[in-house]
Symmetry: C2
Subunit: 291 residues, 2 copies
């Protein structure tokens, strides 16, 4: 049996080609547990010998269980702690449930809507990604199967925080979530002091999209700031996020005390990281025009 | 000719297996320009279709020309700006010249000693890595071909700053530069207000070494702090560095004005990044015991 296991280990390799196609990450696959072509995208889940389960959409790594906390904590807690009293939160994408799990760590949140276009992602996550899907049945959560760009159009002055947990702009349905029209509709769906946050790609392989997303968001929201976090199995390990805000500044209006009083377990985010994440290296200052 | 070029591009692949062997980065090779087994290590230099030249020692990527600035600027400017008046700087390792180039951007530096054990790295860098080796003949630079652990033992109360630009602890001669004995000798070779800084690996694939290096350095220096930077083609993209200091605290004693007055071009480091880099995610706080 051990020999057979070893053969499997050595024979299956997942290779993600990064933008440009000239580099990428490879990961050994212990076993492929799920593989399905949904109406929206190809979904693969495999077990890695060290990183636990790995979710892949259209050939792009969404996360490994070993490092998903970096991405999900930083995508969610930075905008949530920017808003002084977030009650209604909308998550667009993120059908795996990782962002929802982080949102529901906040007791102030009364309603968290998860709008995922692809029901097969939710189904697969429930079955194979137990750490991700743990809050999908929380009574404070509402699951909606709809294109996020269409869904957000229905609301005016409704949400305190909108979090966009999308795939890449060039994969699956991700493209809809990087248009100016979408950002305008998010602005309208937010209450008068609402906070928007989106993942906005990596600035080494995909700097074009980083600049496009930032410029579009900053053309819609009066306060706009980019921040970064490590995300060790994403392209380049350097991930950007962009906050668009109507009233609250994520740095100047940040109340450190709320984080210090926060009881839920966090493995990445803390009050120092919140502010430090907005310090941009010079090449990112230039890319975004933020100094 | 174009067809031939394309064939080459598609057929040569560099694959770096990260610690554990279950994941890694692959890069296409446009052409291999240098490959040599020196007495110390295997040295390869190839041209990548996007990233320029790539230096590889014992199968481990030292840098690509596209992102080396992240590593070299953060390894050098954080300790140099921690010291108020760095005159004598010792670089251990770094035979490519990248760290030396950054050190010599500081006009206060009168003497920069580069101690590289492997003369073939220096020779190859002069020939193929023009952006790295640009300052190797600067009159303020002294090149020494010697094992850094042996060299540093000769000095007492000599240097203002020591920068350790080593290979991994498990590769080539890197292991000597991760011992407590070496850190003790660096302490002795530093002047009474000297500052030490070393690259201390990535905390995703190599967290064991991150903890070992930090604990050893903190057992020798009264002030010890870890910081991080992105380094997009290193394992996980998340790199750690550890400062050991006799007198000056890299955060409390940091003089932002000196950075604002600094004229040399920088693509990563700035005064906000200096302080922000010391904000550690929770899992790194736990790994190092720093809160």
């Amino acid at each position: 049996m051990e020999d057979r296991e070893l053969r499997t280990l050595n024979h299956m390799l997942f290779m993600e080609h990064y933008t440009g196609g000239n580099a990428g990450l490879f990961m050994k696959m212990k076993r492929l547990v799920y593989s399905y072509q949904s109406p929206y995208q190809r979904i693969d889940i495999f077990e890695h010998p060290e990183f636990g389960m790995v979710l892949v959409l259209d050939g792009i790594t969404m996360f490994t269980e070993a490092d998903e906390f970096m991405y999900h904590e930083m995508l969610v807690h930075v905008p949530i702690f920017t808003h002084p009293d977030p009650k209604r939160v909308l998550i667009i994408g993120g059908g795996d449930g990782g962002s929802l799990r982080e949102v529901l760590k906040h007791n102030s949140v009364e309603e968290a809507v998860l709008c995922e276009v692809d029901p097969y992602v939710i189904e697969a996550s429930r079955k194979y990604l137990k750490e991700m899907s743990i809050e999908l049945d929380n009574p404070r959560a509402t699951l909606v199967n709809e294109n996020g760009a269409d869904y957000v159009r229905k609301f005016k002055d409704r949400f305190d925080v909108i979090v966009v947990d999308s795939t890449d702009p060039t994969a699956g349905e991700g493209g809809h979530l990087f248009t100016k029209e979408f950002y305008v509709n998010c602005y309208a769906a937010l209450r008068k002091d609402g906070v928007f946050c989106a993942e906005t790609e990596d600035p080494f392989y995909d700097k074009g999209w980083v600049a496009i997303a930032f410029n579009r968001i900053s053309s819609v929201f009066p306060i706009c700031r980019m921040y970064t976090s490590f995300m060790t199995t994403y392209p380049s390990g350097m991930w950007t996020y962009t906050i668009g805000s109507k009233t609250f500044d994520p740095i100047k209006d940040f109340d450190e005390e709320r984080v210090l009083d926060f009881n839920a377990p966090l493995r990445y985010y803390n009050s120092e990281i919140h502010t430090a994440a907005f310090a941009l290296p010079n090449f990112l200052r230039e890319l975004t025009g933020q100094f």
